[in-house]
């Protein structure tokens, strides 16, 4: 049964595809699905790499594809394809239905056609013409890598830029019909410094969403100075001695620890798997009372911000932890269905070939009342982690993070730089030990890899003090 006349046999971006989408959803529901969701994307990406004083790589890419998800009871079948014709999409629906072994086509859920089109892309169609050209990007990257050449100890200089433009159509049997355009730009600088047997490296990454002019505004001189200083400070650093000690984690990317060690455990996918220690802790104290943590997708221009998530819901600001008390989990459609936690506009995926899952967006610890100096002054013997590298979290919640730039704290003062430090612990044990939060909250962009691929996020925090943590070293 069609809601209206079919006009096209293929998805066409920039046109109204409502009739075709309705036909496909009706088809899936008619075969007995409880729920049908269609996610279609058209991408236009490019990246540029500058090494030393030359552009060494320019890589454009483009593509189209669809991901179709069918729910029956609490299980789901997901099929992705590059074929956006009516036949191709119908075939994908049939394949998902067959995978789920749906033979009872008695309708239990009703599809009443798609709601009014919510078009978030209207003001964004001009972005593709506003982003910097490859020429403009190349020129600025070369100026940036030149800025890194501050002495002869710098042996490797790199600048990289990437731009992802994603046009999406989302339609589902609850009536959702949404279109949007997403723009993400990121730029990074890396150096390696060397002197005799000593070596160090430094890197910084910057990123934005939905701001076509942001790269033009990027202060490459400041970034280059920052990366250079970091590599010089660490060049002759000694290895840190391992042990238990208090640490101060810097703001911005220091928030990666909260993201990895705690944030992931507050995603409903972890409840579904039974792998979070916080599953039954709602409204219980899981952190020090100085900790309030937020996940949101609404800060203008932030790397993890969205007009609408990949399931067609506008993102909300979710207070995850308030004064140490667990208040909310990050949830998507499957999470709501399987765990009962309401959706938060956090259904996200890398692209059409992944089913959406509950994922973080802009996640940060809220600012407190202390200055950075208050935190450092309160420690007689510890470690200041100025810049964090990456990290990982094991299946039972243990985390491990590399410290890219670290300094010893002696008698309330920063002293020698140290390298080779890693922070080791478990969220459940460390969260109650965050005893002081600074007043200098800042966010930093990053990429988060998980069940639904790599998505853009920001992490953030003010300077924070952890009373005791295991520091790995030599």
């Amino acid at each position: 049964m069609l809601s209206s006349q079919i006009k096209s046999n293929e998805i066409i971006f920039g046109s109204c595809n409502k009739d075709l989408l309705e036909e496909i959803i009706f088809y899936g529901m008619g075969l007995g699905a409880d729920f049908v969701e269609i996610f279609i994307e058209n991408t236009d990406n490019s990246s540029v790499l500058a090494e030393e004083d030359f552009i060494t790589s320019v890589s454009p890419s483009f593509g189209r594809g669809a991901g179709i998800r069918i729910f029956k009871d609490k299980k789901d079948g997901f099929v992705s394809t590059n074929d956006l014709t009516k036949n191709g999409l119908m075939k994908s629906v049939s394949q998902a239905i067959e995978m789920l072994d749906i033979t009872d086509n008695k309708k239990r859920e009703v599809f009443n056609g798609l709601d009014q089109h919510r078009d978030y892309s209207l003001s964004k169609k001009k972005w593709i013409n506003e982003v910097p050209s490859i020429h403009e990007i190349s020129e600025k990257l070369l100026v940036s890598t030149k800025s890194l050449k501050k002495n002869n100890k710098i042996i490797t200089r790199k600048g990289s830029y990437s731009r992802n433009l994603q046009e999406v159509i989302i339609a589902s049997s609850d009536g959702t019909y949404v279109t949007d355009i997403r723009l993400h730009q990121t730029v990074g600088l890396n150096v390696i410094a060397s002197d005799a047997q000593y070596r160090s490296s430094g890197s910084r990454r910057f990123g934005s969403s939905g701001m076509p002019h942001e790269f033009r505004l990027w202060d490459h001189e400041k970034a280059a100075n920052d990366v250079f200083e970091s590599s010089m400070n660490m060049l002759y650093a000694d290895y840190v001695d391992a042990g238990q000690m208090p640490v101060v984690l810097a703001n911005k990317f220091g928030g990666v620890i909260f993201h990895e060690a705690c944030g992931h455990l507050l995603e409903t996918t972890q409840i579904e798997r039974g792998t979070t220690p916080f599953e039954n802790k709602l409204n219980e104290k899981i952190a020090h009372e100085s900790v309030t943590a937020i996940d949101e997708g609404i800060s203008e221009g932030s790397f993890g911000s969205l007009s609408v998530d990949d399931e067609g819901m506008e993102p909300e600001k979710s207070v995850l932890i308030k004064d140490g008390i667990l208040k909310k989990f990050i949830s998507d459609r499957a999470g709501e269905l399987r765990t009962g936690h309401k959706r938060t506009g956090s259904g996200r995926r890398q692209n059409y070939s992944f089913a959406a899952a509950s994922r973080m967006r802009n996640t940060f610890i809220a600012k407190g009342e202390h200055s950075k100096e208050d935190l450092i002054n309160s420690i007689s013997d510890g470690l200041y982690c100025k810049s964090m590298g990456g990290g990982s979290v094991g299946a039972t919640g243990q985390f491990n993070f590399a410290v890219e730039e670290g300094y010893l704290i002696k008698n309330g003062k920063l002293t020698n730089p140290v390298k080779g430090a890693t922070l080791i612990g478990e969220a459940k044990e460390v969260m109650p030990k965050i005893s002081m939060c600074g007043n200098d909250l800042e966010l930093a962009p990053g990429f988060c890899g998980s069940i639904s691929g790599s998505v853009n996020v920001t992490v953030g925090q003010p300077h924070i003090k952890v009373d005791s943590i295991t520091v790995g070293g030599r």
């Binding site: 890419s61 590059n82 995978m99 990290g391 080779g420 890693t422 295991t470």
Partner: protein, 450 residues
């Protein structure tokens, strides 16, 4: 369209755009996978994917590239056009050419391609595996990470000089990661992965047994004191560390200034004379073997370390030309061609008289740390500096008893590690990333919280 038709289509489109020199790499795949949760199907997944990467050389012989999933006639034309525009930004300082070996014969092996068993069969097999794993020990409460998948794919390389290569393959994978809980103890997890050409080649029972045994063996755990220990690396963990520092053998990394080696490092002593390391992408145990690389160069066995000395670097076409040698079959097609190893094989050389052969992980009764698996490689390895600090799963062996180590890291320097190898056991084991025996190293730092 099949791969021959795509080649014809690209050739015709290139002619119409007056593009004389081009090459492409493509991948076409169909993948099926299932996950279960306590006997119920959780997510069932199928995907049909096509990726096409086209390179174009302009009149100044500079290269541009584009990648697309759109292999329609208009998509191919658009890709050629974009690549042509990108060629204006081609690297003038490092020219790229076709591989001189792109038309050489390739070693044709029995591809052992299997037929799909289908989602329903995958689901049935995984459900049974989950049940058996849960029943294998009362402490195993769930299998939170699991999956059974099968993939069928074709890879193609062709160029305007008449080179054309393709191969089709199938591959299946089973992954079981169990979680065990006991009263008043922290949950412990471990798992196992098995690969095969098809689902029927996977030893499901052995995967269940490995996942169960590993998980149970970590139930009795304790913290470890921060100290320097004698270390025994499992085959898997030693291969992990060699792969993490493979920039030592990588000509691309040397040219980029991110390797510990330099152009003159061939012949340099890196380790004990008892160590040989090869890269052998065509090894019969390598399920994922490819007969040619991204530039069409045939894959081959290459000695990287011979009796402790650096013997060869791995190359793409352009790095080989700069180093005045031949490509080795390790290139990945890209605007900047990448270079990476395929399948590492570690073995004991003939010069092994200095090894302490009494160090055998199954019989040695002194104190040592056994590293079963290294984690967080992306975070804990500084390949350009040679240092590492990595969390691991493993055991402390002491007085003939072993106890699982709770949350610890091993830290050190790759050059120190290679030079302080004190034994290479005789038996090699096949893993998912290569082949290696157990390797013993003296005095590496372990950080624990005891």
């Amino acid at each position: 369209m099949n791969s021959k038709e795509i080649t014809t289509q690209i050739s015709e489109a290139a002619d119409s755009l007056n593009l004389k020199k081009w090459d492409y790499g493509a991948s076409f795949s169909n993948d099926y996978s299932v996950q279960v949760d306590k006997g119920e199907a959780k997510q069932l997944k199928a995907s049909q994917k096509q990726i096409l990467t086209i390179r174009v050389w302009n009149e100044s012989n500079l290269v541009g590239i584009t990648t697309t999933s759109d292999i329609s006639e208009s998509g191919i034309k658009k890709a050629l056009n974009q690549a042509n525009i990108a060629s204006d930004f081609g690297n003038k300082n490092e020219r790229t050419e076709f591989s001189p070996l792109a038309k050489d014969p390739i070693e044709v092996k029995d591809s052992k391609k299997r037929n799909p068993v289908g989602i329903k069969k995958l689901l049935t097999l995984l459900r049974e595996a989950e049940v058996k794993l849960l029943e294998s020990h009362e402490s195993i409460k769930s299998v939170p990470y699991n999956g059974l998948s099968e993939s069928f794919y074709e890879r193609v390389y062709a160029n305007s000089d008449g080179a054309f290569r393709s191969y089709t393959k199938s591959q299946a994978a089973l992954y079981l990661y169990a979680r065990a809980e006991e009263k008043n103890k922290k949950p412990r997890s471990s798992g196992s992965i098995k690969l095969g050409y098809g689902v029927e080649d996977i030893d499901i029972e052995s995967c269940i047994k490995d996942a169960s045994n590993k998980t149970i063996s970590h139930l009795n755990y304790s913290s470890i004191k921060t100290h320097k220990y004698l270390i025994c690396f499992s085959p898997e963990s030693f291969l992990t560390i060699i792969n993490a520092f493979s920039s030592m053998f990588n000509a691309r990394s040397i040219l980029d200034g991110v390797s510990l080696s330099n152009k003159n490092s061939i012949g340099e002593k890196l380790s004990t004379e008892a160590l040989n390391i090869y890269d052998d992408g065509l090894h019969e145990k390598n399920i994922s073997s490819s007969p040619f690389d991204g530039e069409g160069t045939p894959t081959k066995r290459l000695c990287l370390i011979n009796k402790g000395r650096l013997e060869n670097f791995i190359h793409s076409e352009s790095t080989a030309r700069i180093f005045k040698t031949m490509p080795t079959g390790h290139a990945g097609l890209g605007s900047k061609v990448s270079v990476s190893p395929d399948w590492i094989v570690v073995e004991k050389s003939e010069e092994n008289s200095d090894l302490k052969t009494s160090l055998d992980h199954s019989t040695y009764e002194g104190e040592f740390v056994y590293i079963e698996e290294l984690n967080a490689i992306h975070a804990g390895v500084r390949a350009s500096q040679g240092s590492f600090s990595l969390p691991f799963d493993g055991w402390l062996y002491k007085n003939g008893k072993k106890i699982s180590i709770e949350s610890a890291t091993v830290a050190g320097d790759i050059k120190y590690l290679l030079k302080n190898i004190v034994n290479i056991e005789s038996n090699q084991e096949v893993t998912t990333s290569g082949i290696s025996p157990h390797i013993w190293v003296d005095e590496l730092s372990i950080t624990g919280d005891a």
